[in-house]
Symmetry: D2
Subunit: 290 residues, 4 copies
């Protein structure tokens, strides 16, 4: 039976646990037994950690279980296998909030990709501590919220932010050159669900003004890194990185210009990977099934 | 049961056939049922061609079947599933012949990688139409055969080549800048088992003197392509390609110098992928599970 | 005398001619004699063609000649040296027309870069054979002209295009995924002043549907090429090229998505290089002083 | 007068000083006045530092001054311009010593390039603290010196090393994976004349075991850096860097394998640039005229 027509309903299973024999056969056998057609299957074993990771994307069109029933039945199976798992249906699409300060290049890049259908998610709100990008969001018909940061009132501003994120039922927060450091309170509310773009090849040049640091060190490449936000500044699990060549002729302004191209590409790749459920974390590292 | 120790005996299954439901579950279930521990599993569906491709690497240490018995039992299973398959044990290692003319950079690169343990194969013979590289092969203690090409006697030379390849029980022929065009007779004797390195980004600049062609066209990148040899010159399935940046300042000699670095990297990657049984062909294309 | 402050008025001299001794010394000596401060000087000799190329960027702040007088005096000097030359002041900035069909990614990229100050030029008009991008141009406050293409009336449409380009005193025409082939009449009106982006690594895959061609050939990299438009389709002098890695998993749609990122980068680099007067042509090739 | 034939005698002038008007014109005018034909001229101004850098490569075939006389006359001219300079003739070629421990990949790469004529220099001696690479050096007919390192006797070993380097009149010391830290005494004897390859993208992961550090941090790219050796470990001026993509599947052994390809390319580029007199230092940075 050749599968020539695209499936209408798909799902993704992410699973993680101590490695043991038979994990692939047991899980794929269960899915097949209920009529799933496996479209993509990736797995990874970290032999040092003794950990097993799996991503299975499958068509549900001919399954004998609805999505909720499938999740309910997977629970005991995965418990038996001593594994954590998440199951994602093809809908509803994840809801994204994009946080930004004044620089617009990463934001507009995400808005364009969303409009072009590149992202399996909805940008439901853009928030900023400035008014700068409001007209842009209006062009794309995306709600905008300005949450100014006043010295001494950061706690209050973050309270408003958390209230807004909750009201919008946000699944992923994207820091698209947001120039504020989030407190532990916000980070803990969205564990491994905040993605940042840092404009250096981490762990080189964390913190402020990485392009200035790069020029001072005379490096021949500058980078950008997209990572999950944790309480340790610029030290969360890395999802994606890339670099671009620079020379002695490049000033800080040139690095900023070259960096803009790099930042938007690297951030967009990381967001896309997350939305397609291709990213698993363990320890301070990621497994990226691309 | 955490698999902390490296398996002693592994095998790779490559399979290919019309796509249908249950292929992953059936195959992995069969292997698991006989005690295999799956180390890596990759699959690919080409929805346009309706084709399914799979590579499974598994540990045999705790299997209840020896290698030959496993292959015998896979036969009927795969026939039922309407699939072609190949099964490769961890030994014996594939036997390689490297054919070369006068340029030594690709040959020495392969010899070095073999010595460093990067290649899962043995270079059992080096053949050339010149004597140039003989001392190099002696340093690496690899047998060398000189098969000079005399005008009008190509058929005879190829006869000697085929005899030698058969005597050495060669699994893969690597053309590491071999400046002769093989006749259909040789190509047919080693179908999809001859890998060539061509010094351009194919399909641009096939045939002779690609770097001269590149300079004439004023391209800003030059490439190298490793592909299977078929009867259509420089048109066999592509395994690996890469490019390097050039400028107006680069002469043909500069392109040759930059190209040497590229050629050896691209050829080595293709050979390595083949030796690890990561390359499947269909039509005039490859599926590369890297 | 250390030049710590940025010069207020700069100029660029591009010169080209048969190579001979003393060209650098004579030209830089002339400029220095009139008070110029040389900021950047690049030169190239093509020994095969016997050609010499030079780009000099210099500060005019302390010169004893105004821009027009300088150009008048350079004329006889260059005639003596048997060289062609062009002299460009820091103003007025070049005037660009961007031609586009329905795909917006290259256009918006150029509009963003113009707004960010990355381009030393003004986008004075956007023209299209469709209405699709009109709202976008309005957001950026750039005039938009719709010039629909009706079968049998191409000549008339191109007449309107030429009239519009002349009225806007356009210096450079950028084809940012404009899906029409310009006739010789338009090409001849803007010799080496029309830049196109083609979505392949030329000379591979010229003409229509290059991503489909790439998938059919099973290449492992896809490219984009920005080149001057000549009467030979997709064969004009190449300004800039780049590639991105693809695999057997990538469909035509994936190539189009990856290609969009590449196309906009490659086109933007080519336009930027032209605007900074870094591109010289000879034969069917370019010298790019970057 | 078209220069179709390659010049027989060339020279390179490297000059550096505070920026001021007329430097290019004065220097090129002087050379032209004595019959030089300028083949390549590069310059750079660092506006923040107020520094000017120049590299001029020129043919001496028709000059009215011999090399020594030229250098003598350049002295007062450069003093007037308040500039440092170095003048290099096309011969004698620089003399290189390569220091290595047990890993052979960088050494053999340099030996091959020297034999292929890629390097404008002679490898006059290879020294190691082990015997491992002796057979390799014999194949290439390069003298080998074993200088074992005994605990407590490092000073004595370095004394022998310095004596040997002096006896061989070495111009450049290349550390091609030499696993010993040189003392200040050696570094000071060869200021900016010792080039090291470090197997990370510095300043990330200095010191020992950078690939292990990279795996622990979960980075998605690993790098290599070639730099001048100063008394601050792994902090000298960077000449060249590059990176290669890695994934969660790559073990430390995979990184070492990928790294070997990167290290030899990056080190070879740095050595080549130095030998062609394209590298100037200031502060802790380099100007590389490539």
């Amino acid at each position: 039976m050749v599968t020539r027509s695209a499936p209408r309903r798909t799902a993704v299973l992410l699973a993680r646990g101590a490695d043991r024999k038979g994990l692939v056969a047991t899980i794929t056998g269960f899915l097949y037994g209920h009529g799933a057609n496996i479209l993509h299957a990736d797995q990874h074993i970290d032999p040092l950690a003794g950990m097993f990771f799996q991503r299975i994307e499958f068509a549900m069109d001919e399954m004998d279980l609805a999505f909720t029933a499938l999740r309910d039945q997977l629970g005991p199976l995965m418990t038996d296998l001593n594994m954590d798992f998440e199951l994602f249906g093809h809908e509803p699409l994840p809801r994204l909030a994009v946080l930004v300060s004044k620089l617009e290049h990463c934001l507009i890049d995400l808005l364009l990709r969303a409009r072009a259908g590149e992202l399996r998610g909805h940008i439901v709100v853009v928030a900023s501590n400035h008014e700068t990008v409001r007209p842009l969001t209006e062009l794309f018909s995306v709600p905008f919220v300005c949450l100014p940061v006043t010295p001494g009132l950061r706690e209050e501003q973050e309270g408003k932010l958390l209230t807004m994120l909750a009201a919008e039922r946000v699944d992923l927060v994207v820091l698209a050159r947001y120039m504020q450091i989030l407190s532990a309170r916000v980070v803990q509310a969205y564990p491994l669900r905040i993605i940042n773009i840092h404009h250096s090849f981490l762990p080189a040049f964390p913190g402020a003004r990485p392009y200035h640091q790069a020029v001072e060190h005379g490096v021949k490449l500058v980078g950008a890194t997209s990572h999950f936000v944790t309480e340790a500044l610029d030290e969360g699990p890395i999802i994606e990185q890339d670099v671009v060549r620079v020379t002695h002729r490049d000033t800080v302004e040139d690095l900023q210009r070259k960096g803009r191209d790099l930042e938007r590409l690297v951030l967009a790749r990381a967001v896309r990977l997350w939305l397609e459920r291709r990213v698993l974390c363990y320890g301070n590292k990621t497994v990226v099934f691309d």
